[in-house]
């Protein structure tokens, strides 16, 4: 019986530690700041164990009976802890409260285990042997658990199934304790049936764990993530839901494959179709190749120069089959030259002329990006325009960021350009704005490439009309020494989100 008893100690010690590690890891995954999470969880857990040990003195009789019950309860709470916490994070606001409650509950139960067990066997051994053996196996179990957890359990089983597996072990300990301590138990039948029932429950949970995590993650991320990459410059995430592929850069939506044609047709065709003989085109930003796809619809265009900061981005959109299907392998066209460079210094140092300049940068969310929306930048970009040249600028939403939109228009004006603001509706973005700018008069085209799905000659006039709720605002221009746009943009989005 000796060795079996000590194996019991070893197992329950391992179970206790595993639950604690699971809670810490889960909190780190979901909330970040792993140092804080692990520290507070270990602290709570050890403190709760202390409470458990203190409470053990109030248990006078029926030690074995209560021990089996403790094991059963640990099996249930610990076993389902991980699944419960995942679902709580996904569906409720009270994740942290529940997490600490679970940690404390497990801690109290684990704190009760060892003192009760030691008292149960004290008649059989000398006191000093009991202490020595029980504690030895207790610590051995902890060592085993702490090694198993990162090496085998997390990578092979995941957090949800690891918890259930160790829940099963706890219940198994309960079951075999009914044999081990049969003499000290009033009746074993009911306990054994209970143990089997709980084991079945945990077994089903183990088998269905995938569905539990899937249900939870579905609620955390709207769609399935098919690619996530941290490059030197940004965080790229691609998601897919059925046939909808979405690109996020630093958590900002760049396009949805369901309606990006509206955005990119509107970005390119009103400008490019208005140029008599467009031969050379410059695209600044636009590393997804979707604007280039539209530009390639003009056979007269001989060369397209694309300047995008992030080589990882242009490489992805040149090679990933799902993405090249979207941009119709536009980057593989021999007309396209890709330059990975910072746009402002490139525009400063390059001397080429272009018939059409597309400026398609992320929104001005910070001062670094804001530099690309200044009078200084537009002056530098305008120096690249040929005699028939036009420039088009993606300019955020005239609906949700109305001040920002008209600030960009004003900035282009202050850079000495004539401006032609227009807007379209892109379902995944809402109302979206662009500005055509040039040194000469612009007239809307009367002929467009065949096969467009959104932009049409008849519909174009309405794009240049702004209803009263999007009409011009009196805002200053954005300058390098006074980036009003970044502040306006921040304020605009704050206003609509609250």
């Amino acid at each position: 019986m000796g060795i079996l008893l000590f194996i019991t100690v070893l197992l329950i010690a391992a179970c206790g530690l595993i639950y604690e590690l699971i809670a810490g890891t889960l909190a780190s995954y979901l909330l970040g700041d792993s140092v804080l999470q692990f520290s507070t969880i270990i602290g709570c857990y050890l403190f709760a164990m202390g409470i458990g040990s203190a409470l053990s003195r109030f248990i006078h009789r029926g030690l074995a009976y209560r021990f089996v019950w403790i094991e059963l309860m640990l099996g249930v709470i610990g076993g389902f802890s991980s699944a419960l916490l995942f679902l709580a994070f996904a569906y409720t606001q009270g994740f942290q409260l529940l997490m600490y409650a679970v940690v404390v509950a497990i801690g109290v139960l684990v704190g009760l285990e060892i003192p009760i067990l030691m008292r149960m066997v004290r008649e059989r051994y000398q006191f000093r042997d009991v202490v020595a053996h029980v504690l030895t196996f207790d610590y051995l179990g902890a060592l085993g658990a702490s090694l198993l957890f990162p090496i085998l359990l997390v990578p092979r089983l995941g957090l949800v199934r690891s918890a259930m597996l160790f829940g099963l072990i706890n219940v198994a300990v309960a079951l075999w304790s009914t044999f081990l301590f049969a003499k000290q138990l009033p009746s074993t039948q009911v306990l054994r049936v209970l143990c089997v029932v709980v084991m079945c429950g945990l077994g089903v949970g183990l088998a269905q764990a995938k569905r539990i995590t899937a249900a939870a993650e579905d609620n955390i991320y709207a769609d399935e993530i098919i690619l996530a990459r941290d490059t030197r410059y940004q965080h790229i995430v691609l998601t897919r839901f059925k046939d909808d592929i979405r690109l996020f850069l630093n958590s900002h939506l760049q396009f949805s494959s369901r309606d990006e044609y509206r955005y990119h047709e509107a970005l390119i065709h009103p400008g490019l179709s208005a140029i008599a003989t467009p031969r050379r085109v410059l695209v600044l930003g636009g590393g997804d190749g979707l604007a280039v796809r539209e530009i390639l619809k003009y056979p007269q265009v001989e060369s397209i120069t694309l300047v995008d900061l992030d080589p990882e981005m242009t490489r992805l959109f040149s090679t990933h089959p799902m993405l090249t299907a979207l941009n119709q392998k536009s980057f593989l066209s021999p007309k396209v030259q890709i330059i990975n460079a910072d746009a402002f210094p490139w525009v400063d140092s390059n001397t080429d002329n272009f018939d059409f300049v597309v400026i398609d940068f992320p929104d001005p969310t910070n001062y670094s990006l804001g530099k690309l929306y200044t009078t200084a930048f537009y002056k530098a970009a305008a120096r690249h325009l040929s005699a028939q040249g036009l420039m088009v600028v993606q300019s955020t939403s005239p609906m949700f960021a109305r001040d920002s939109y008209w600030c960009i228009v004003e900035t282009l004006k202050q850079a000495g350009l004539k401006t032609y603001p227009y807007h379209v509706y892109v379902p995944s973005f809402g109302e979206w704005g662009f500005v055509i700018a040039s040194t000469h008069e612009y007239t809307a085209p009367t002929l467009l490439p065949a096969g467009l799905r959104f932009v049409s000659v008849d519909g174009m006039a309405s794009m240049f009309q702004f209803p009263p709720d999007m009409s011009p605002m009196n805002v200053p221009a954005n300058r390098l020494n006074d980036q009003v746009l970044v502040r306006l943009y921040d304020q605009d989005w704050k206003d609509i989100s609250h």
Binding site: F344, P345, K371, A376, N481
Partner: protein, 507 residues
């Protein structure tokens, strides 16, 4: 070889310990551009060689800082060629010297010029010539990019250096009252740049007390206001408010009313202006030329430098004026000229450190620090993505005696200053040691004139400022304080004076 069990264990644990210590990045660097050795040769009246050659020029300019280069610029612009500029250091520029590395250019000293007002005509003329001011519009790229400045206080950054958060009502009131007072001083017309244009006897009382005392007499006792006033005095004069003339303290605020969001700045600071000036006059500039004696002769002056005597009709002395008694024969003693010791350092950063969630700015000041904070050389870059950069760290040793601080500058080794700088920056950038790969330190014993009470209305100063005779003093310290506009003004005025006299003599 048989390894004993004990040895094995020792080696093993040593390896484990070694692995567990996370090393800070090794930091290279040293002292650069030291020039006190040359100055001490003059002070100690070291033996210099006697002259073997003679060169004749109508004008000799001594010193290649902003004042000397501005004098040269003016002479050259007026078509005058018969002059030479002698600069002691290998690199001209004085307090506007700069450095360059593979990341960026960066300043060693003066790093900005406030957007000049309409009275600062010579500076406006220069900036028009350099294309910084075109048809009344300042070049956007020369104006400091947004966001310009931030101050760290109460454990967070605020935008702007004037404390704006956490003020009590009575403190707000004091800031408002001070602003009103400054507004009145500004309206009086007595506080201008250049200072000479407005200097008025009616403000002589303000020069008799310290700025600190003046603030007290106005009932300004806010600790936050006191910090800000001291910061401004340290920044422009290298002195604390209790050692700055109240006139100078008021001038700092009352002399400027910018018409545009500035200041004007460049990655290399005012070194950019030095470069542009050198493009025009470098043919006249001789570096590494320490003038050790100036002697009056029948017709003019003998200027002794190395083994050459430069014979000149006019001398424009733009070196710091405190050197005059050591160099000019019969000069006598100099009173009312005091100087502040400074230390600047350039730090190469392999990446930007953590910054408590604030956007990086150009000028970064920490309220609890005795230093003036740092300026980011890459801030004025148009790049959107910046990884490596250079920070210029400014430290006016304003507290305590200047002599003791000068001694400290000389005695302490590079490691001492490196640690002091890193510890200072750790207040706001806890991981700074993992970001910095190099720290070069520059020591200035006499960096800038310190306008103590009495310095502005001092007889000695005003006599030198008059530009009498043929030995013309034009360092900015002749204005009582060292700022770009004063240096340029004095240089240009000296050149104008020479041209006027010679035109008269030769006309």
């Amino acid at each position: 070889m048989k390894v004993s069990r004990r040895k094995f264990l020792q080696a093993g644990s040593a390896a484990l310990v070694g692995l567990s210590i996370k090393g800070d990045r090794p930091i290279a660097g040293g002292f650069v551009n030291d020039s006190f050795q040359l100055g001490h040769q003059l002070r100690d009246r070291a033996a210099f060689p006697s002259a073997r050659n003679v060169e004749k020029h109508a004008v000799v300019i001594i010193g290649g800082g902003i004042a000397g280069l501005s004098a040269a610029w003016r002479l050259h612009k007026r078509g005058f060629q018969d002059f030479v500029l002698l600069e002691m250091n290998q690199q001209p520029g004085g307090n506007s010297r700069w450095g360059e590395n593979e990341i960026t250019a960066f300043p060693w000293g003066a790093h900005y010029v406030p957007v000049p007002g309409p009275k600062t005509t010579y500076v406006r003329e220069l900036f028009e010539e350099l294309g910084v001011l075109k048809d009344g519009v300042w070049d956007e790229r020369a104006l400091c990019f947004a966001p310009q400045e931030r101050l760290f206080l109460y454990g967070r950054w605020q935008e702007g250096i004037e404390p704006a958060i956490g003020l009590r009502e009575n403190e707000r009131d004091q800031f408002r009252r001070l602003e009103d007072l400054i507004h009145r001083f500004r309206a009086s017309g007595g506080f201008t740049i250049p200072m000479e244009r407005g200097l008025s006897q009616s403000h002589v009382d303000l020069d008799r007390i310290s700025f600190g005392e003046w603030l007290k007499t106005q009932g300004m006792d806010s600790r936050i206001l006191d910090w800000y006033m001291n910061y401004c005095c340290r920044d422009d004069y290298g002195a604390v408010a209790s050692e700055t003339s109240a006139w100078a303290g008021i001038h700092y605020f009352a002399s400027r009313e910018p018409e545009e969001k500035g200041p004007l700045t460049w990655p290399e600071g005012n070194g950019w202006i030095v470069k542009r000036l050198l493009e025009r006059v470098s043919a006249f500039v001789r570096n590494g030329h320490l003038v050790h004696r100036i002697r009056r002769t029948g017709k003019g002056f003998g200027v002794f430098c190395g083994e050459t005597e430069y014979q000149a009709e006019f001398v424009i002395f733009t070196a710091p004026t405190f050197l005059a008694p050591y160099v000019i024969e019969g000069f006598g003693s100099l009173r009312d000229f005091e100087y502040s010791p400074w230390l600047t350092a350039n730090l190469i950063l392999e990446r930007l450190p953590l910054s408590y969630g604030s956007d990086p700015t150009w000028d970064n000041v920490v309220m609890t620090s005795p230093t003036l904070g740092y300026v980011d050389a890459m801030h004025q870059s148009v790049r959107s993505h910046i990884e490596r950069t250079v920070w210029t760290f400014y430290w006016a040793l304003a507290d305590g005696s200047a002599a003791v601080n000068r001694q400290l500058l000389l005695e302490k080794d590079w490691n001492y200053w490196k640690e002091a700088i890193l510890r200072d920056l750790e207040r706001v950038h806890p991981d700074i040691r993992q970001c910095v790969s190099r720290i070069d330190v520059m020591r200035f014993g006499h960096a800038m004139a310190r306008p103590k009470p009495g310095a502005i209305f001092s007889e000695g100063r005003r006599r030198l400022a008059k530009l009498e005779g043929r030995l013309l003093f034009a360092n900015s310290d002749v204005s009582g304080f060292s700022i770009f506009e004063e240096a340029q003004y004095r240089g240009v005025r000296a050149a104008e004076k020479v041209l006027q006299e010679m035109g008269g003599a030769r006309g």
